[in-house]
């Protein structure tokens, strides 16, 4: 999808951090990507390599930590694990499940030199 825009967002965050905290070489970029977020990790990896060229994170390793999806089942009135937005509740089979966790797309940390 819009992984190119996301990669540009990551580059901006990394460059801003480099400027404000005074480092100019990033070895690893660690992301937290929720299972229910709208990100395709493989596509993001491809875009990441392209977008990071000539930046302080050129050639950096991209580590993607996946965050499992969860939702609030209105029938069971509790939080249940779900792997996709359209998945039913694993306990009662109802589709009345509102995504509550695993929607994040965040830059978690950077390994710098």
């Amino acid at each position: 999808m819009h992984e190119m825009s996301l990669a540009e967002g990551i580059r901006q965050i990394v460059e801003d951090a480099g400027r404000s905290q005074g480092f100019n070489k990033v070895k690893t970029v660690v992301l937290e990507i929720g299972q229910l977020s709208s990100v395709e990790p493989d596509s993001l990896r491809f875009c990441f390599d392209v977008v990071m060229q000539d930046s302080i994170a050129a050639g950096a390793v991209l580590q993607i930590d996946s965050v499992p999806g969860s939702g609030w089942c209105m029938q069971c009135a509790e939080t249940v694990p779900v792997a996709a937005l359209y998945d039913p509740c694993p306990k009662c089979g109802s589709y009345q499940v509102q995504a509550t966790g695993g929607t994040e797309m965040r830059v978690k940390e950077l390994e710098i030199e």
């Binding site: 819009h2 190119m4 580059r11 977008v51 359209y86």
Partner: protein, 350 residues
């Protein structure tokens, strides 16, 4: 295309005019220091920057010209040790494998960032939301596949609304201003954003469009996003709600195939229902699929051609307008109360 970031300079256009594009720029000095700063592509500008936290001895200025004709002037130093003092404690020495930091030795360090990837867009979106709220403007972000009938739906909606409330439109398309022209034919002001290679509108583009369009207070702003059921889901524009349009000439299973958009929307309009007699589209199935993704999704069935279901759709907009006005009234009341409080304090002193 901009060859620094690949961001498609000059491709995003507001009514055919290039969106003034602030651009991050980096250059490496002989001593290995890397500078980054923002500038506009077409501007000639001067700036100075000393290496972080360090007073350079023998700094000197120089200018250089870029391929695009912009000229930079800045001070810099060629040699020198780079010492950083951080205002915060985010960079931790002593957490590397050796457990200690030896000066001059390269050591891997972890820096915590914890920042949303779309933070920049979300910041612009909040700014737009505040701007709209201050003026009591209801903004709706209409999203769908290409060809779902969004523009026809908009034209009819404007025709029905325009005697009650002013309506303005922001049109997003990769190319052409055909849609804005169709909207203007209704008498409503419309501004076309061409995203060039971009697949979605972002909050910065919409912010610029708001400045140009300057919709009146207590009005409705309809944003027709780029026809794309995928990318616009992730980009908050500062709208009150996303309205997803699904037409019955598409498949019932679209909500499951493209769940993100249906999850992000507050309302689904099932459009072109006048064509149902000729199709095998199962409306209830489509609604069930959409509610699997988003149990709270509201649904209205409409036909932009015959006007069927429009009373419900216009009623829904009215309810959202009431919310926008009530929100602004609360802000005004709070400000009045604050003014009264301050005046009372002044009177007590004087």
């Amino acid at each position: 295309m901009c060859n620094v970031c690949g961001c498609g300079t000059g491709e995003t256009r507001l009514e055919g005019e290039a969106l003034d594009h602030e651009h991050e720029h980096e250059h490496v000095h002989a001593d290995g220091t890397v500078h980054r700063h923002t500038h506009h592509h077409t501007d000639e500008h001067a700036h100075s920057h000393a290496p972080y936290q360090w007073v350079p001895a023998g700094a000197h200025g120089h200018t250089h010209r870029h391929a695009d004709g912009s000229v930079h002037a800045h001070d810099h130093v060629h040699e020198g040790e780079h010492i950083h003092e951080h205002g915060d404690d985010s960079v931790h020495y002593g957490q590397g494998p050796a457990g200690a930091h030896a000066p001059g030795m390269s050591q891997a360090q972890m820096v915590r960032i914890e920042q949303n990837i779309l933070a920049k867009n979300d910041g612009y979106a909040e700014r737009n939301r505040g701007w709209l709220a201050d003026r009591g403007i209801l903004a709706l972000n209409l999203v769908s596949s290409p060809g779902s009938g969004k523009t026809t739906l908009l034209v009819r909606t404007i025709e029905e609304l325009k005697n009650q409330v002013p309506v303005a439109v922001v049109e997003g398309d990769q190319q052409t201003s055909f849609d804005a022209e169709r909207i203007r034919a209704t008498g409503a002001p419309a501004l076309q954003i061409n995203t060039g290679k971009g697949c979605h509108l972002d909050a910065h583009m919409v912010g610029r469009a708001l400045e140009k369009l300057s919709p009146p207070e207590d009005s409705v702003l309809l944003v027709e996003n780029v026809g794309n059921l995928v990318c616009p889901a992730a980009f908050d524009l500062g709208e009150a709600a996303k309205v997803v349009v699904l037409s019955v000439t598409e498949g019932e299973d679209k909500p499951l195939k493209y769940p993100d958009m249906f999850a992000a929307a507050r309302l689904m309009l099932v459009n072109k229902i006048d064509l149902l007699p000729y199709l095998s589209f199962d409306v209830q199935k489509a609604i069930d699929f959409a509610r699997r993704v988003n149990p709270r999704l509201e649904v209205i069935q409409v036909s932009a051609t015959t006007g069927a279901g429009f009373a419900d759709w216009l009623g829904w907009i009215d309810a959202r307008l009431d919310e926008a006005r009530a929100g602004r009234q609360r802000t005004v009341d709070q400000l009045r109360a604050r003014i009264a409080e301050l005046e009372a304090q002044l009177a007590a002193k004087g």
